[in-house]
Amino acid sequence: MRVNVVAFCCNWCSYAGADLAGTSRLVYPSNVKIIRVPCSCRVDEAFILRAFARGADGVIVCGCHIGDCHYATGNYHTRQRMESLFGLLAFMGMERERLRLEWISASEGAKFADTMAEFTAQVEKLGKNERYTGDCIKATDAEAAEGI
């Protein structure tokens, strides 16, 4: 069994932190695959649900530390939205441990690697995500074709 972990990383802090983990050669599990977003507040709850629906076993959203957001206030919105999403996951009967929100700065390469290793281990303990799959969230082909 190999779990699949999707990490949404904001461009300014966490993505740079992941790069620093790389330049520092800090090893973490290859299960983790990163999607770059400008700010953690760009992460729509729908993206996370879509990831779970399509076979992600864990999703982690990473942004700048509170107060350090490149866009001043973006991560406050992230925090608020994630709180309600945790509630929704519970309502859906999903383990909330499959989702995590973490603040990782551009200088925290070690924190990035450690967090990814620890989160992957946590998701591995839960096993494959089988409670919520399928096409619950739709990005219709028409929408895709328009490129919106």
């Binding site: 992941a18 790069d19 090893v27 729908a46 993206f47 490149h70 001043a72 551009a106 200088s107």
Partner: protein
């Protein structure tokens, strides 16, 4: 869509862990991929040529580069694509170096992940749109925050190039820490003699607008067009009337902190030479009675009713030069800093030996005014200390200024016994090692390798207990004056300034440069530049070099009339928009306007965070370059 995929080996950096040939081959399975190639160094001229030629030859409409982080070479490859006639925003990078080859050991796993990252990039590029940067006007004026040697040098260089500069300094005079120094290492130049002419140049330069006793309060806008609010604190002295005669100082009855009057000029060479009233110690502000300074002032410059004034000004670029402080020594009880008057910090020692300092340059003990028979310098107080109370880094200047202090003490009183406790003596720099050797060989300063465990007051003297590592024994002796080389940390205001500038700070609170090697004076935020100690410990020559470099970058920006703006901005689909305005509420830049049941994004203000796109309940708002469909396509590719 006709997509070309290019896989970089990065020498062995990628190739050693990722099977580049395999992913190059496998990516051809996608029917949209019309060409795929691997190359040892895609960023090199040959690699870029390969890409531009392929764009022309295969008439590519999209390019995916599997290489290092987009933070490294996205601009390089986008420029190459544009040269070949492809819209640069139809190029995506799969980060298979920093986020794959360098962090995974198993080649098979890393190859699979790299393939998956490349597929996600292909999925994203399929849904990309050509994007066109807009243009924004450049305000040809610079702001420098901090009036120490870094800020002074930067302001002078920018002004010399012909651009107006506002220099903001929180204290009543510019000059910063360098103005407090007696001499500078390793040449023993008189600090004031080399600094004060520059301070006068700043004050008299027609292009420099000096705001002392002022603080930056608010920063809005973006590169080329910042709007900054500066608070000019009430000085209680009318700068236009004051002649700097000093009669008010003589009249003031208060003896406040450091023997300072309530109305004070920080030091004799202060620029501007205009006093300020410290309202916390002024008798008039405390008790409503006194006003002796007002009576003494002939030009009638004293103004007790003065209030803080706020000015708002536009700037094209901002330099942060907020400087440093020595750490507080509360947590270092073993050195007895608070318990004994004769335990002082290096900066306090600097003031004691300075001719314009409180003792007039007489090297005496603070407790009884006697000349010490022995002085003990303790290095690395809080530096190279990974515990919670200390700083993990080397403060860089302490070894050299301590050698300078030791030499200065010996110059004044050759009979004084001078000892230095150190962990390592670090002297990388021009003439540094020679200077240190001179302290040891010519002046007879004793260097003791070992950390001090305790400093105890004893009959008006001080007892030092330490380890002498070279003698492999305990050191226990009496001394008269202890000087602590307290670690350096960013100044109190650095964090606040960094937040206002959206400039990232590192784990130690120093403002981070955009790239430690290749972009050392730029912040990650466009239009914000750094110099001096706010960016990390450094000595005066390095600070001046960095300040000039930052000024050079600012000049390079201000000579432009227009800047191209990031086209990855939000966009409203009017057909789906109800005009609820939730998007406008979350926008930190006021870029979204609600107009008669719809919204419109001002692309010049939008910075592309995407917060509005998620706040929008009807999906009418989208972010170009990171559209909903694109991110979902990436998710699908990575999860599939």
């Amino acid at each position: 869509m006709r997509i070309g995929v290019f896989v970089c080996h990065c020498g062995n950096n990628i190739k050693a862990t990722v099977d580049a040939a395999y992913i190059t081959e496998r990516l051809r399975d996608d029917s949209s991929v019309v060409c795929s190639a691997e190359f040892p160094y895609l960023c090199a001229e040959g690699g870029q040529k390969l890409i531009t030629e392929a764009i022309a030859e295969h008439n590519l409409t999209g390019v995916v580069i599997c290489a290092c982080s987009p933070r490294m070479h996205e601009t390089t490859f986008r420029k190459a694509a544009a040269k070949a006639g492809l819209n640069p925003y139809r190029l995506e990078i799969a980060n298979i170096r920093e986020q794959c080859a360098w962090v995974h050991k198993n080649k098979e796993e890393a190859t699979e992940k790299a393939l998956s990252l490349a597929k996600a990039a292909i999925a994203k590029i399929k849904l990309s749109q050509p994007l066109f940067p807009g243009e924004s006007r450049v305000t040809k004026r610079a702001l420098v925050i901090g009036g120490g040697i870094a800020g002074i040098q930067a302001a002078l260089d920018i002004a010399e190039a012909g651009f107006p500069v506002d220099l903001v300094e929180k204290s009543p005079s510019i000059g910063g820490k360098m103005a407090q120094l007696d001499k500078t290492f390793p040449t023993l130049d008189c600090s004031a003699c080399i600094l004060t002419p520059k301070m006068v140049d700043v004050a008299s330069h027609e292009k420099i607008n000096l705001h002392t006793y002022s603080e930056v309060e608010k920063v809005e806008g973006f590169v080329g067009s910042f709007t900054v609010t500066i608070r000019k604190k009430a000085r209680s002295v009318d700068m236009t009337k004051c002649t700097g005669c000093g009669d008010c100082l003589a009249a003031c009855p208060v003896k406040g902190k450091e023997n300072r009057k309530a109305i004070y000029i920080p030091y004799a060479q202060a620029v501007p030479n205009v006093p300020a009233i410290d309202r916390e110690s002024c008798l008039y502000f405390k008790n409503g009675k006194c006003k002796r300074c007002e009576k003494a002032c002939q030009p009638k410059a004293i103004d007790f009713t003065q209030e803080d004034e706020r000015i708002t000004e536009g700037y094209g670029a901002i330099i942060a030069a907020t400087g440093f402080e020595a750490i507080r020594l509360d947590a270092f009880g073993e050195y007895g800093y608070h318990a004994n008057k004769d335990v002082i910090t290096s900066l306090e020692f600097e003031r004691i030996i300075n001719a314009s300092g409180p003792t007039g340059g007489k090297l005496v003990r603070p407790s009884d005014g006697s000349v010490p028979a022995r002085i003990s310098f303790i290095q690395c107080v809080g530096s190279r200390d990974a515990t919670a109370r200390g700083k993990p880094y080397c403060s860089k200047v302490c070894c050299m200024y301590t050698a300078k202090h030791a030499i200065s003490a010996k110059e004044k009183h050759p009979e004084i016994d001078v000892e230095v406790f150190y962990i390592d003596v670090r002297t990388p720099g021009k003439n540094f090692e020679e200077f240190y050797r001179r302290a040891v060989e010519v002046y007879g300063v004793r260097y003791i390798k070992g950390q001090v465990g305790k400093v105890i007051g004893e009959n008006g003297s001080l007892r030092i207990q330490a380890m002498d590592m070279l003698e492999n024994g305990r050191y226990d002796a009496v001394t008269d004056l202890v000087v602590l080389a307290a670690a350096i940390e960013p100044s109190d205001s650095a964090k606040k300034v960094a937040q206002m500038l959206s400039s990232p700070i590192d784990a130690n609170g120093f403002l981070s440069e955009a790239h430690p090697k290749l972009r050392p004076v730029e912040s990650a935020t466009a239009g914000i530049f750094l110099c001096g100690m706010c960016n990390g410990p450094k000595d005066i020559p390095e600070t001046v070099a960095q300040a000039s470099a930052a000024a050079c970058k600012v000049i390079g920006l201000l000579v432009k009339d227009q800047l191209t703006t990031n086209p990855c901005t939000a966009k409203t689909d009017e057909n789906n928009c109800s005009g609820c305005g939730l998007c406008a509420e979350v926008c930190p830049y006021g870029a979204v306007g609600v107009i008669s049941h719809s919204t419109a994004v001002n692309a010049a203000l939008c910075q592309g965070c995407g917060g509005c796109t998620v706040a929008c309940p009807s999906g009418a708002m989208n972010l170009q370059g990171f559209s909903r469909a694109q991110i979902i396509a990436e998710v699908d590719a990575l999860c599939g």
